[in-house]
């Protein structure tokens, strides 16, 4: 976490943390903007009239008193899913004080199926932990373990990329993806098999049967047979090094079968371990919990409902008619960051603290306890959930700090609590608090398969950038193109090219989706690799009270989602409205046009010819320039990006935005081709649109040695630095845009209008003071985080030494969960980046132009199964 003058500005992963390993994800990177969001709720109110905190406490005291009298009968609490040990303990205290009260947890993007699957397989809702560092074969069944938001994403991304180095030769990991809606995870697969989400279970059953893991029925379709045979053979020949991963959206039976297959493949104890569930109410489905609450509200049993950091009015399943039930509750209290949809229908709204403003603790996916420590005093005097619960329990105004510390003091067994506490706060997590592996025995049979679905199917997915809608008001995330479609500022309805052709539809056609009498309207986007006879919609859009950024963007897929079928449903009618609905995509063209942009080979080819990346195009010999070469006495910075490691998750893009004060421009400007991201991830499809190969290529500034941008600037606003960077001098730029025209990589971004907000005080606080905020009429671009370079240089000079390798990390490099980006001094042959660039896979993008790019790529190597590769 980076903080300036008491203002948190940038979030970094904790390299010591066992499940972050230093990597982050898009949501974490962008959460700092949410904290400064000027649309956040800034006070407490009762029936829309503002109340001071003491007034609020008086009223809450009365509420507490009345429920003390009836032992909490009619008192209900609804929170989001939580893994916080101290909060769970607090809630237990609360339930002790109000014995008849109840606590529900609701999460629209829940893991009900995961725990239900474990329940079937083992009779208990255990957590499944994968260890890809020992895996040779990975099969994912609609699982997106390389996408932001998947529990354990950071760790899996790191392990995956380490196991995907082609230098491992025959030990390189091979990855099969059986998937419904394409994700950046499946894009990394060596083999993809597309099917509708409802068909995955049947495939899994057939595979489990074929592997001898279960007699589960199921049958492969003729198209699947070849794939399945090769897959089964590969899995079986790698016992102990194979792992099956299932996505959260798949049915409990699929999860259960995966457990059986993992056991059969000898994965348990090696690539798969089981622990206690991290989720505090894992055994009780979130949908079921909400259903109970709604039933109670409808029956009039609920007198006071306290909703904390949850937005069920917006995201509850449509069939529950949550709002009707909610309105029957005589006293509705809402605590949240925003005056959102739920706040609107509550009597009381209390403003909450952001996690960067409060104390607390949380378990990560492997159970490691991390401490939430504030970096700033609450901006709007908000209060944490724990403080509110403490007040209701004990009428005590303890701070979240005291509450967290008190809990851990009680838990602490050894001597010297203070030492332990200080050390843990310093580390950010409690060493050795990961949950211990648990031995579980298979038990119970997998239930028979539900009837197959017919007709057009809708697949519901969490959104790649705004998750379940909680980040809808976050401009950085709204403007981050979704990894696969490259569309931003909307949730398009994804459809395969084939199905669209059959229905006579094309991208950006507005269509109406109707299922079970519920309707929504949205724009279509044809997506290569999408299964036929299905559409994908993502959750989180169509917010009515998100704030200035997110309100009214896209449509709400929750309007179609029911409690019975939260992840996919069939029998959808699709009807074009005849209107055009423009979508914004910074990358309108996803074909490489046969150019040598992303250079790829199979592992076999790589072993035969490690120099394959230079087979077709080669850089001209050095020195072919009119101008004298530059000399670098001290440093010569450079970057290398491993295309094999990049998983296209976009974390680097958001990290760059946070680090470099990059403006958000909005949908209309993106449509005009004026997005501002300094670092973009290009996504190219190759091959047939039914089952394309997909490649990701992060493109920051190449910091060319012979930079085409430098020579054409009439005022010398972009110049070569003594350390090899193409510096951009904002003050000097008059804005001819010639440099951008002449940049073959098109990494330069121009402030066509006044994009930066110079007025809103909160946003001013958010900015990195080391980086100029650009005004209109000025060109900008990636600087290799020159402010970080300078910082390191100053530090080194103070201590009279050279900048050490690894001392400067660019924001993208630091955030990357898969360590795809290396940065350092090219003058130092021992630096990590120099060593990486020495690889034969190293090549420069468009190097035939003699630009001599300083950012280079390691060519991608796929590891296909020879049996499947013709």
């Amino acid at each position: 976490m980076e903080s300036h003058e008491g203002r948190p500005t940038k979030i970094e992963g904790n390299p010591q943390h066992p499940s972050s390993l230093g990597g982050t994800d898009v949501f974490t990177q962008a959460s700092v903007l949410t904290m400064y969001d000027p649309d956040r709720s800034q006070g407490n109110s009762y029936l829309n009239e503002s109340r001071t905190w003491p007034q609020t406490l008086d009223s809450l005291r009365a509420v507490a008193k009345s429920h003390q009298a009836d032992h909490g009968a009619g008192l209900r609490v609804l929170t989001e899913a939580t893994s916080s040990p101290s909060f769970v303990a607090q809630m237990q205290q609360f339930l002790k004080a109000y014995p008849q009260a109840k606590w529900y947890q609701w999460e629209p993007v829940n893991r009900d199926n995961v725990y239900a699957g474990a329940q079937i397989a083992f009779g208990q809702p255990v957590e499944t932990q994968y260890d890809l560092s020992k895996a040779r074969i990975v099969l994912s069944l609609d699982g997106d373990f390389l996408s932001s938001g998947f529990p354990g994403f950071h760790k899996y991304a790191r392990q995956f990329s380490q196991r995907r180095r082609p230098e491992l030769k025959s030990e390189m990991l091979r990855y099969y993806a059986v998937e419904s809606s394409p994700t950046n995870t499946s894009a990394k697969a060596d083999h993809r098999l597309h099917m509708r989400a409802s068909e995955v279970e049947s495939f899994t059953r057939a595979l489990a049967t074929a592997l001898g893991a279960a007699q589960a029925g199921g049958e492969f379709t003729p198209q699947q047979k070849k794939f399945a045979a090769a897959l089964a053979k590969d899995l079986q020949s790698h016992k102990g090094a194979a792992v099956v991963i299932v996505g959260d959206a798949q049915s409990p039976a699929t999860h259960a079968l995966a457990h059986l297959m993992n056991a059969q493949l000898g994965a348990v104890g090696k690539t798969v371990t089981y622990t206690e569930a991290v989720d505090s109410s894992a055994g009780w489905g979130k949908v079921a919990q909400l259903q109970s609450l709604v039933a109670e509200m409808n029956s009039g049993a609920v007198k006071t409902l306290l909703v904390m950091n949850s937005n069920p009015v917006y995201d509850a399943p449509a069939d529950l008619n949550f709002l009707d039930a909610f309105n029957k509750v005589p006293l509705r209290i809402h605590l949240g960051l925003f005056q959102d949809e739920t706040a609107k229908y509550s009597h009381w709204h209390l403003n909450a603290t952001h996690y960067l403003e409060q104390w607390g603790d949380v378990r990560s996916c492997d159970g490691t306890v991390s401490f939430i420590q504030p970096l700033i005093a609450p901006l709007y005097n908000g209060h944490a959930e724990s403080e509110l619960i403490e007040f209701l329990t004990n009428q005590d105004e303890a701070s979240s700090y005291l509450l967290t510390q008190r809990y851990w003091q009680q838990q602490h067994t050894g001597q010297d609590f203070k030492g332990w506490w200080d050390r843990s706060l310093h580390d950010g997590f409690v060493k050795g608090s990961a949950l211990a592996p648990k031995t579980v025995a298979a038990k119970g049979a997998v239930p028979a398969q539900a009837a197959a679905l017919a007709g057009l199917e809708i697949i519901f997915r969490r959104d790649a950038t705004i998750y379940d809608g909680r980040f809808a008001n976050n401009g950085w995330l709204q403007e981050t193109p979704k990894p696969m479609t490259q569309v931003c500022w909307d949730n398009p309805i994804l459809m395969s090219v084939g199905t669209a052709k059959k229905l006579g539809l094309k991208s950006e056609d507005e269509v109406e989706l109707e299922v079970g009498g519920r309707k929504v309207k949205g724009a279509l986007w044809l997506t290569p690799g999408h299964p036929e006879q299905a559409v994908t919609v993502t959750l989180g859009y169509g917010r009515q009270r998100a704030g200035k950024v997110g309100t009214g963007v896209g449509f709400s897929a929750y309007a179609l989602r029911t409690s019975q079928s939260p992840w996919f449903v069939d029998g959808v009618n699709i009807k074009p409205t005849g209107k055009h609905f423009g979508l914004a995509s910074p990358q309108g063209h996803q074909s490489m046009e046969g150019r040598e942009i992303v250079r790829v080979a199979t592992l076999e080819e790589f072993i035969k010819n490690p120099d394959f990346a230079h087979a077709v195009v080669e850089a001209p010999a050095a020195g072919l320039t009119m101008y004298a070469p530059y000399e670098y006495k001290d440093h010569k910075w450079g970057m290398a990006i491993d295309l094999n490691s990049c998983i296209g998750c976009k974390t680097c893009t958001v990290a760059c935005q946070a680090e470099n004060n990059i403006a958000v421009v909005g949908k209309e400007e993106v449509k005009r081709g004026r997005h501002m991201n300094w670092l973009r991830i290009d996504n190219y499809h190759e091959g047939s649109p039914d089952n394309p190969k997909t490649y990701f290529q992060p493109v920051p500034c190449m910091q060319c040695e012979n930079a085409p941008c430098e020579v054409v600037c009439p005022v010398g606003a972009t110049t070569h630095s003594s350390e090899g960077l193409n510096d951009m001098v904002y003050n000097r730029c008059v804005g001819t845009r010639y440099c951008s025209n002449n940049c073959p990589y098109k990494v330069r971004r121009f402030n066509f209008l006044l994009y930066s907000d110079f007025e809103t005080p909160q946003l001013k606080f958010q900015r990195n003071p080391d980086v100029s905020v650009r005004s209109r009429g000025v060109m900008e671009k990636c600087t290799y985080c020159v402010q970080r370079v300078t910082h390191a240089r100053i530090n080194a000079e103070e201590q009279n030494r050279k900048v050490a390798d690894g001392e400067v990390m660019t924001a993208c490099q630091q955030a990357c969960p898969s360590e795809a980006i290396a940065f350092g001094d090219l003058n130092d042959p021992k630096s990590r980046v120099s060593r990486i660039k020495a690889s034969e896979r190293n090549y420069g993008l468009l190097e035939e132009l003699n630009t001599r790019p300083r950012t280079t790529y390691l060519a991608a190597v796929r590891n296909p199964n020879p049996e499947l590769e013709r």
Partner: protein, 469 residues
């Protein structure tokens, strides 16, 4: 008042080819020429047609001012430009106007040096046209920058920042090329005007007009010494202006040719830009000359011979331009560069193919009609052909600027360009500025050079006897 008794080299009596119109219709005397040209300004009443036309173009000019005010207020984002198409209408218009501005200097200076007598009646307004076209062009480099209030940083001036412009940038060469050209053209035009301004001063009845023309005439009395100095100054300026005709558009073409953008990075650009400039310049001369000679009844001074010659120059330069297109296409294929070849394909078949094929139709196919004598003799046909060429040359710059940029090296960054209403407003606005200035010019200044016309008369020949008088 008698002038032009002393000339350096009397014109030879014209020998007309069969069917060729004379440069000056016979029947004029020294007096009638002066009288006619002077009366166009000083004695002809302001007609309704002139007022109507002026008001219309003045209105358009105000569109330009309004659009520029909004542009300065909001920023260049009001236009259709983006990344990858960083340049749009502004640069297209700039190149178009500079190109148009070539004809005047070519006619005045180059044809003077080449002793082409037919230049005499059209050079004055062609020079004025050049000046106004360069003024219109000059608007764009300034306003197309993101921060126009700092555009003066492109000039090398001593400053406290201690920085110079970057001399490797073609944009900087442009600054010098265009500003030099504008200066020389203005001087050339003004110097040429001095004797005629004196004539105006002497003929004007209105005391205010007399004062103003007198001031502008800078004390010209028509003495032999004056004429001698005038002649050498004029010749010197002509000599200076001649290389500029070639250099300005060569430098403008460097803006593109020096870059590495496929479709720009071409050695054929300098000659073909110069030819294109003259092509469009002559088209504009015809577009102006044809109505002027009709409405002001000067068909006897701007004869069919002038129109015919201008049409022939157009045809010739048009063929050079067509050759340029062919070579561009050939080398795109022959160079073996996939990027260049793609640009060609994209121009012909891409989403903006309409602009390419319109350009071929307008610049290459339709002007071939000029081979036909009847077309050259028909003022209406000539007028429309010239309009088509002007449009075609505008499209040429559009094709070069936009279709090259919108799809370059990395397909991930390909984009589209759609001009906005502000793009059109500014383009139309410069047309307003240009024609507004032209309207004022024909009302206030001698649009035909009086003394040079008089030199075309046999009376102006210096005979041996006269010389000894």
């Amino acid at each position: 008042m008698e002038q032009a008794t002393e000339t350096k080299s009397p014109e030879m009596t014209e020998r007309l080819l069969p069917g060729q119109a004379p440069v000056l219709t016979p029947g004029h005397t020294l007096e009638t020429i002066t009288d006619k040209i002077v009366s166009l300004v000083l004695r002809r009443p302001v007609t309704l047609g002139w007022v109507g036309g002026f008001v219309f173009f003045f209105g358009l000019m105000n569109v330009l001012l309004f659009a520029m005010a909004y542009l300065f207020f909001r920023g260049v984002g009001i236009w259709g430009i983006n990344v990858p198409v960083g340049w749009g209408f502004a640069i297209v218009n700039f190149v178009w106007w500079v190109g148009i501005g070539h004809a005047g200097t070519l006619i005045s200076a180059v044809l003077l040096l080449l002793k082409q007598g037919w230049r005499n009646s059209i050079n004055r307004f062609a020079e004025a046209m050049t000046l106004f076209a360069v003024a219109c062009a000059g608007v764009f480099p300034l306003i197309h920058t993101g921060r126009p209030w700092l555009a003066y940083w492109l000039f090398p001036y001593p400053n406290t920042m201690g920085v110079w412009p970057q001399f490797r940038s073609p944009l900087l060469w442009d600054v010098f090329a265009v500003s030099t050209y504008a200066t020389i053209s203005a001087l050339f035009w003004f110097v040429g005007l001095i004797p005629d301004l004196a004539t105006f001063r002497d003929s004007a009845q209105n005391p205010v007009a007399k004062k103003i023309y007198g001031l502008l005439a800078m004390g010209w009395r028509g003495s032999a010494r004056h004429w001698k100095r005038y002649e050498s100054a004029y010749l010197l300026l002509a000599g200076l202006a001649t290389p500029l005709v070639l250099s300005v558009h060569t430098v403008v073409s460097f803006d593109f040719a020096i870059s590495i953008v496929p479709g720009w990075h071409t050695t054929v650009f300098p000659p073909y830009f110069v030819a294109g400039a003259i092509y469009s310049g002559f088209a504009m001369v015809l577009v102006l000359a044809i109505p002027i000679r009709k409405f002001y009844g000067v068909q006897d001074m701007m004869t069919m011979r002038h129109l015919d010659n201008a049409a022939k120059v157009m045809l010739g330069t048009g063929l050079i331009v067509a050759y340029g297109y062919t070579m561009e296409a050939f080398y795109a294929y022959y160079s073996g560069s996939g990027y260049e070849y793609f640009v060609l394909k994209n121009r012909m078949l891409g989403p903006l193919a309409w602009s390419y094929w319109c350009l071929i139709l307008f610049n290459v196919l339709i002007p071939q009609l000029l081979w036909i004598r009847k077309v050259r003799q028909n003022t209406l046909a000539l007028f429309f052909t010239s309009l088509v060429v002007l449009l075609g040359m505008w499209l040429e710059r559009f094709v070069i600027v936009v279709t090259s940029l919108h799809r370059d090296f990395l397909p991930s960054s390909w984009g589209m360009y759609t001009a906005t209403r502000w793009d059109y407003a500014i383009y139309v606005g410069t047309l307003g500025l240009f024609f507004c200035a032209m309207f004022l010019f024909v009302r206030l200044m001698p649009m035909i050079t009086i003394f040079e016309m008089r030199m075309l008369l046999p009376q102006s020949r210096v005979t041996t006897e006269a010389a000894h008088d």
